[in-house]
């Protein structure tokens, strides 16, 4: 028996997108496979590594733990949507590139989404607040030192540019 599917509508990175998916389709698979947005990475498939973090109405969520049908009608921002008008990289993106806040880069999209939300809530976090705020994202390459620096640098860039 063919599996029942559902038509959903998401606003992804400001663009209205439609997809037809089974109820159990993960948001991560929907983004990557149905919508072709492979910038969102899947590292563990069970909500531990944080590589798949996207912003749901501005708040970070694990797209690998979210069913696509449950976010129909909502706004999703992925790493591909973080850049500003004209494709200029956001301060968070620039800070990670500038401060060597990445090596293999597989975890980076998740970190960028988490940090974008963190700095919106807390524009000048302390080290302790950065570490607490990023404790749900794993990085295997950097030992996190330059990620902390990147967050502070991003906060500076945001302050300078606002």
């Amino acid at each position: 028996m063919p599996e029942r599917t559902h038509d959903i509508t998401l606003t992804v990175n400001g663009v209205v997108r439609h997809a037809t998916v089974p109820a159990r389709r993960l948001l991560s698979d929907c983004l990557r496979h149905d919508l072709g947005l492979t910038g969102t990475h899947v590292g563990c498939e069970h909500g531990v590594c944080g590589c798949c973090t996207v912003l749901l109405d501005g708040e970070p969520v694990r797209s690998c733990l979210t069913f696509a049908v449950t976010v129909s009608g909502h706004e999703i921002t992925t790493v591909e949507g973080l850049a500003g008008p004209g494709g200029r990289m956001s301060p968070v993106q620039r800070a990670f590139a500038e401060c060597h806040g990445l090596q293999c880069g597989f975890c980076t999209p998740g970190f960028l989404c988490t940090v974008t939300a963190l700095l919106r809530e807390n524009p000048a976090p302390t080290d302790a607040e950065v570490v607490e705020g990023l404790s749900g994202n794993l990085c295997r390459c950097t030992g996190y030192q330059n990620i902390v620096k990147s967050v502070h640098r991003a906060a500076e860039l945001i302050a300078e540019e606002s």
């Binding site: 990557r32 993106q93 990670f96 060597h100 996190y144 030192q145």
Partner: protein
């Protein structure tokens, strides 16, 4: 000629930014798991549930009957050689008549959707006759009644080291140590895309550490000449040794050739734990004899490394454990026996530190025991025995470049210690257990520990270790432009940045592009053994020098012309060069003597920890490191390597272990296999020394692995200092501290 100014920005020594950094922060960088073709289908691997079993039969017909399934393959469908392997082709492409570890690949399915492929694989009927699994490496090695995992016997290599004959001393300390099975846990899972070609060959896009050694294993199994297996490096989501052995490469190619469709295989995290080799777990017995003032008289050791079911790179791992088994200390008398054994446990092979990590934990634990027995400080005992330039290793090899271990230790010791927090009112986030509020400071003790590590850089023991680079200078938009082409795998370490820096410095041209790595250029060797800056860096330098010589000649023949004018006249100037490091030699099979390494690197760590001694929870407060890298090519990237290597050593000290019970992996997920989070990793203090190695390009010394060695024993020593427990095993578990046997 203005274009030859070697002071161009972004050259060797600058903190040049990664050229792939922008794509990695915009989400456009294509990792192997992101590859997509509209007509592609999905491959899935059926794996053995048993650590040891005979296969009576395999029936794929139920899978073939399922919707969307294109084919289901077994060992009978392997077109060529049915075995592969890094060191020796002993690993079946697909299991033939028996399986030797849980997770061994048995059959393949291709289907039009990954879920359909998974369901079809589950429908394949394999009739197993379960046999006794050999899971105790000690028994495997030394009990003649133990079943043989491989026909040649269970000891895959025994490497002794014998020096001197004095094995008595006034002070003797002994210990038995264990290192658990660590996983590389790169965040990007094994994955790739195989595309069948019109000529009967295949194009494979994959995340790997060494394209050419992959191809040398893939092509014979496919029954194809090497030139019909064309490989391109896809984006690599970390490696750390996990991608040295083949995973899905041959499988995807087989499915692609059979179906005539592009085939994508992506492992999930659970499958990844079964799809690559791990760090060898080790059991080690050590005895150190010394004078009363702590000078080493002898070291005796037995090092047993569990290689699991297949050979992988175990022989070389054993060689490292043996040759570096006493650490960077002067020892006049040595009796070390290192063994690698086959068992039905998960196969083990390369992981950052490669055989040097396990021994380092043991010999450093011994040095602390010795310090205590002699009533001197941990730093003092290490300084008194430290090697320096001119010292002999236990293999007889003379260290012929700077090795300022004593100075490094003194510098490390002089770093200010982090302040001890005042009692009461402590920030919970800084305590072991954190905001879980397992303590408000009561029962928390601070400890400080030191660790030292020595790692061989590049491949050792006579391996013909080389890299190839093609460098081309041409006009692009009227400006000189350099194209660097190698097959070297950028796995995150920053090699792509360094290659461009070298080209800028050597050619004085700032516009440099590093071409995608593929097999259209000669082998670069592996992105492992901390060797790529040395060997591929050396090849890029040599090719640039050859190009520069031609440009200089052109300039001489055409006085007064600028570089763009010369290139306009000459067309592109291109040279290809191979670069080899100094040869190395095998270890004597009886005495272990020989100049087996080409370069040695040192790193030292100090760890400061707070331990809740009642609950056994550890908070690492600070890690400090001093490393001598010969010459810094890129400060930013180098520090990143030291930070990351240190974090993996922290993981081994405190949390990372694949738990294997009766040959079965019990924790193949990131819920149960713990890798350090940002909360676990403390701030780091790093000091980098530049005492050049004259034999190496720019005097550089490989840097990626050494910090992974020394951080583990430093943390273990700090936890011992805080708790007073002996803690002979890493990772240290809460029960080892709070509920000692």
């Amino acid at each position: 000629m203005s274009g030859m100014d070697t002071r161009v920005a972004g050259g060797v020594g600058a903190s040049a930014l990664r050229p792939d950094g922008t794509l990695k922060v915009t989400g456009e960088f294509a990792y192997s798991s992101d590859l997509w073709l509209d007509d592609m289908v999905w491959g899935v691997t059926l794996r053995s549930p048993h650590p040891s079993a005979r296969i009576r039969s395999i029936d794929v017909t139920p899978a073939l009957a399922m919707p969307g399934v294109l084919c289901a393959l077994t060992h009978e469908d392997v077109p060529g050689l049915k075995f592969h392997g890094l060191d020796h082709p002993d690993t079946p492409v697909l299991a033939i008549d028996r399986v030797r570890y849980q997770g061994e690949p048995v059959a393949l399915v291709a289907a039009d959707h990954p879920e359909r492929a998974r369901r079809a694989a589950a429908a394949i009927v394999v009739d197993y006759e379960v046999t006794e699994a050999v899971t105790d490496p000690w028994r495997a090695a030394f009990d003649p009644s133990c079943p043989k995992v491989q026909e040649g016997g269970n000891v895959l290599r025994h490497q002794p080291v014998r020096v001197g004959s004095v094995f008595e001393a006034p002070v003797v300390v002994t210990g038995e140590y264990e290192v658990g099975m660590q996983d590389q846990a790169p965040l990007g899972p094994e994955s790739g895309l195989a595309v069948p070609a019109e000529d009967g060959g295949v194009d494979l896009f994959v995340a790997t550490q060494w394209l050419h050694v992959d191809r040398d294993q893939i092509a014979p199994c496919l029954g194809l000449p090497p030139e019909k297996v064309r490989m391109t490096l896809a984006g690599v989501g970390g490696a750390f040794g996990a991608r040295e052995d083949l995973s899905m490469q041959i499988h995807a190619c087989m499915l692609a050739l059979r179906t005539g469709r592009p085939v994508k295989i992506v492992y999930g995290r659970e499958e990844s734990f079964f799809g690559h080799v791990h760090r060898h777990p080790a059991r080690m017995r050590y005895e150190h004899g010394a004078t009363e003032d702590g000078r080493l008289v002898y070291v005796k050791a037995e090092i047993l490394l569990d290689g699991g079911a297949y050979r992988s790179s175990s022989p070389a791992v054993v060689g490292n454990a043996a040759s570096l088994g006493a650490g960077p200390y002067e020892v006049p008398n040595v009796a070390i026996d290192a063994y690698g054994v086959y068992t039905n446990n998960p196969p083990c092979g390369a992981m950052r530190g490669f055989g040097a990590v396990q021994a380092c934990f043991a010999y450093e634990s011994q040095m602390d025991k010795l310090a205590e027995a002699c009533g001197i400080s941990p730093v003092e005992v290490r300084v008194r025995n430290a090697v320096s330039q001119g010292s002999r290793l236990i293999t007889g090899q003379v260290i012929d470049s700077p090795a300022p271990l004593a100075e490094m230790l003194r510098e490390l010791e002089a770093f200010p210690l982090p302040e001890e927090p005042a009692a009461g009112g402590r920030d919970l986030r800084a305590l072991p257990g954190g905001v879980a509020q397992t303590t408000h400071g009561e029962g928390v003790r601070r400890g400080v520990g030191y660790g030292v590590g020595i790692k061989n850089i590049c491949f050792s023991e006579g391996f013909d270790d080389f890299s190839t680079a093609r460098v081309r200078v041409e006009l692009a938009g009227g400006e000189p432009h350099v194209l660097v082409h190698t097959a070297a795998a950028e796995v995150g370490q920053g090699l792509v940045t360094v290659q461009a820096q070298i080209a800028r410095t050597e050619l004085g041209i700032d516009r440099v592009t590093v071409a995608p790595a593929d097999t259209r250029v000669g082998s670069a060797g592996s992105s492992s053994a901390s060797r790529q800056s040395y060997v591929t860096g050396g090849a890029v330098k040599a090719a640039c020098e050859a190009v520069r010589a031609r440009l200089d000649k052109l300039a001489e023949e055409n006085p007064g012309l600028t570089l763009p004018e010369l290139l306009e006249r000459s067309g592109p100037v291109e040279e290809t060069r191979e670069y080899r490091h100094r040869p190395t030699y095998p270890m004597d099979p009886v005495t272990g003597q020989g100049d087996s390494h080409t370069q040695l690197a040192l790193c030292v760590h100090r760890a400061v920890v707070d331990v809740d001694v009642e609950l056994g929870l550890v908070k690492v407060v600070e890690l400090a490191a001093v490393q001598d890298v010969g010459r810094v090519l890129n400060p930013l990237a180098l520090e990143g390597q030291i930070h990351g290597g240190t974090a993996q050593g922290l993981g081994l000290a405190l949390m990372e272990e694949i738990q294997v019970v009766d040959g079965r992996v019990r924790n193949p997920s990131f819920t149960d296999y713990l890798i350090p989070t940002i909360l676990d990793m403390p701030p780091m203090r790093v000091s980098i020394l530049e005492n050049a190695d004259p034999a190496a390009p720019y005097g550089l010394r490989g840097a990626g692995e050494p910090p992974t060695l020394s951080s583990t024993p430093a943390i273990a020593a700090a936890v011992r200092a805080a708790t007073g427990r002996p803690l002979p095993r890493v990772p240290i578990r809460p029960q080892d501290i709070a509920l000692p046997a």
